[in-house]
Symmetry: C2
Subunit: 497 residues, 2 copies
């Protein structure tokens, strides 16, 4: 203390950075284990073991929290942020320090008490929601939801009181995104989509998928989808394909990505598009840069970008005309009962029906889905900003209470952002990879995967926002017009407007 | 410090005990996770993910070590051991304090440096062994083995310099056992077995298993064995059955016991007896007392007792005459090609052939196996006591170097102890459960399982040694004569001596 005015201790930046990396890698390994506990719970765990698994998850979460908030980690970050890092660290290394500091700040801002109240409310809230839903009684759920809103506001005030509440929450799921930017994007989408949907409804000629109706053995479906996943580039050396009630992509590490699918015997195409969707998530995970293994720069940029990778493969590739040329012969190999006279164009049309265009539905097609998301976004933002009263919520929108649980407030917009990112990234890929359509039609997906590996997967969290990533990959920030043009062009033709 | 002479802080024994349990349960949950990492590695892990799994295991092992050696835990144990616990804690609670203190003492005795040298040598030693074995060059492996012996001696001196080195190491695997007691047991076994084996070899008429030769679909074998496991009492609600290259029983908790088996299409009986063996381990795990969930009293008493449970089911039940009456009709259901004229007695005889009685072999039958173990025991004890020189080892016994790796020194005796415990426990069960043979012949295993649950499984580590457990369950410490009489009686009849 007496020597406080003397020169700072001669700890070199490099040594501090190495010490930081060691700690971050330990946290990453423990997070990987947490991924295994989750995957195993969904696919393997015996029914009678849920309590012991909950205890295991809680114990590991406690350890992770201790490690992520320990004072020594904070001290390393403080020193590194105070030091002049120019010339000492490269862009990826700088991003590691930035992201680690961001996570540390967020995690240490919240008191243990608040974290426990959140966990308690999450469990109690779910039970309250289930009961309220069974009894169609929103008033029984409203107090819990109000508690949740209050807790989120409390959290945002602790994490960063200098930004609007919704922005602070949004940042958990979509780094660098703000409500102002979302308003701009979503209002443009709404203006373009509403008339397109009206036109589809009034004048469109829906294609037919009658010829796809039938029964399809689910084991055969699983084999077909595994073949597609491997064709698209999923590495079985670095991942597994399993079946679960709720399809998801998880795992423990970029070399151990675990993707699950589900199949219904009466619906062949849902299983295929679902599998391609998860495969897109998996390729993002498998594509990370192992040079930065276990470090924050190597994590996903955000939920929106993750969703952009699943939707790029599902929609831009899987629902495209060239893909149908690859897919139809393959479907016939596994299901010879498919009518012989149908062409890839028939399959393309059938896969792209805008279902029930007169109803707003969750898990709907690519045209109506964004409107559904925008509705949720507007309501949750108004709630968190205190602009609407809880009791008015059912009147405003009484369909889906589930959406107001769990990871709510900041999470939903990422769904639609993903669709728009996907469209813009794919347009850039088409520009840079001449003959991409022919590749896809012939089942050669390697160039596209390689391009995404370089442009998106390996840069992980190097950039500070989705817009920055879009600039680096496509030359411009997210432009919703690209998405609108794509939809308009595609459906004008398909529905013969 | 000034008040050091005043009364101690009024921390109640109960409060300290509760605080201890909380810490122990956390460690238990983390150990359960470690079990999942191991199971997953053997059954599910993609080939390209071994490095990341190694990092995950190391990270979790580090956390476990931190938790198991933290000063606060030591302080709680110190206070509890200094307090008068009579009347405050019951027998199970006292055993928790005793076992926790024992583990803490062992773990904190070793320096971090020694633990790291051990881990390093284990990995380097394995590679050296593989190479030496390929080149049949013991001299290339001898220095590593000598290092291993030295490290074990160093460890024993740190853990408890007041007992002989071998006893200290033995205690890791078989609580309360000593070399003096082992010498006593094994010399009696040797004296009884050697003449029996000689007689079998000279005068015995080996039964025939020719009629069992053939090809058996491995999927059908797996289904048959799953049926047997469930009949024997394995709960699928609290465990899983899978296939792996090396059969083992693992899992994360008594409610999540994971057993694996393997099958060869040319050997029907090996798959069945192997599955029954693992099932015995599984029943021990599933049978633990959940009232003491996550506490040390609820852990296995030792490797010998664990092996006693697998061998009780494998040998006392699975290789018994009444079991053959249950098994043969079941085998016929799954494999109708089995000859119709064979009887349960023929099956009983075929299952109990003493294979190659002229050769000493690992994984041999119940008569020759103990001699094999005794050989190992005598050699490893002489090595660790410095009574034989490393360079004489190949001459003394040059068959199996693998045995001298990993968990060596103190581990091997538990194999044969298990067989003897099993025999004595089963004899007690026969005494206390009249009609047990008829139960087994009709496929009713519930009474035996229930008896084992009460007598052995639920008492976990309540007792301080295998001898104490034997006294509680059978009325006397381990008596090798029971094992010898069993073998003599069984094989005199089978081989018509």
């Amino acid at each position: 203390m007496a020597a406080a005015a003397a020169a700072p201790a001669a700890t070199s930046v490099k040594a501090d950075y190495e010490a930081l990396c060691k700690k971050l890698k330990e946290v990453s390994a423990l997070s990987g284990i947490s991924g295994l506990l989750g995957w195993d719970e969904m696919t393997m765990l015996p029914a009678g073991a849920t309590e012991s698994r909950a205890a295991q998850k809680a114990a590991l979460a406690g350890v992770l929290h201790e490690k992520q908030t320990e004072a020594e980690l904070g001290e390393l970050l403080r020193r590194l942020q105070a030091a002049n890092l120019e010339g000492e660290l490269d862009a990826f290394e700088l991003a590691n320090v930035r992201e680690a500091a961001r996570d540390y700040k967020k995690l240490t801002a919240i008191s243990k008490d608040l974290a426990q109240r959140e966990a308690e409310l999450e469990s109690r809230g779910y039970q309250a929601w289930v009961k309220a839903r069974q009894e169609s009684d929103f008033s029984a759920f409203a107090p819990v939801l109000q508690e949740w809103v209050n807790l989120r506001q409390e959290k945002a005030a602790l994490v960063d009181p200098s930004v609007p509440v919704y922005d602070c929450l949004l940042d958990d799921y979509e780094k660098g995104m703000t409500a102002a930017r979302l308003d701009e994007i979503f209002s443009q989408v709404k203006q373009g989509l509403v008339p397109l949907l009206a036109e589809l409804r009034q004048r469109g000629q829906a294609p037919s998928d009658e010829w796809l109706k039938g029964e399809y053995d689910t084991k055969q479906q699983a084999e077909l989808c595994n073949k597609i996943a491997v064709d698209l580039g999923f590495s079985l050396d670095h991942g597994r394909l399993d079946v679960s009630v709720h399809p998801f992509t998880g795992g423990t590490h970029p070399t151990d990505v675990r993707m699950t699918t589900r199949f219904k015997k009466e619906d062949l195409t849902e299983g295929i598009t679902g599998a391609i969707h998860e495969m897109g998530h998996s390729l993002y995970e498998q594509g990370r840069n192992l040079e930065y293994d276990g470090l924050p720069v190597n994590s996903a940029l955000g939920m929106g970008v993750h969703e952009s990778q699943s939707l790029l493969w599902e929609r831009m590739v899987g629902l495209s005309r060239p893909f149908a040329a690859y897919l139809l012969p393959l479907m016939r190999q596994y299901f010879p009962q498919l009518p012989a006279d149908k062409t890839p164009d028939d399959l393309y049309a059938a896969l792209n029906i805008v279902k029930h265009p007169s109803m707003i539905r969750v898990e709907s097609d690519e045209v109506t889905y964004p409107l559904h998301i925008i509705l949720r976004y507007e309501l949750e933002k108004a709630l968190i900003e205190g602009k609407i009263a809880m009791e008015d919520l059912p009147a405003l929108w009484n369909e889906k209470m589930k959406s107001y649980l769990g990871c709510l407030f900041g999470y939903f917009p990422t769904y639609s952002l993903g669709a728009m990112y996907a469209c813009q990234i794919f347009q850039a890929a088409q520009r840079e990879l001449p003959g991409l359509d022919e590749d896809i039609a012939s089942g050669s997906f390697g160039r596209l995967k390689g391009w995404l590996n370089e442009k998106v997967h390996k840069v992980g969290s190097l950039h500070t926002s989705g817009d920055e990533l879009m600039k680096a990959v496509t030359g411009a920030p997210l432009d919703p017009q690209i998405f609108l043009d794509y939809l308009k062009h595609k459906y004008t033709e398909l529905y013969q407007l």
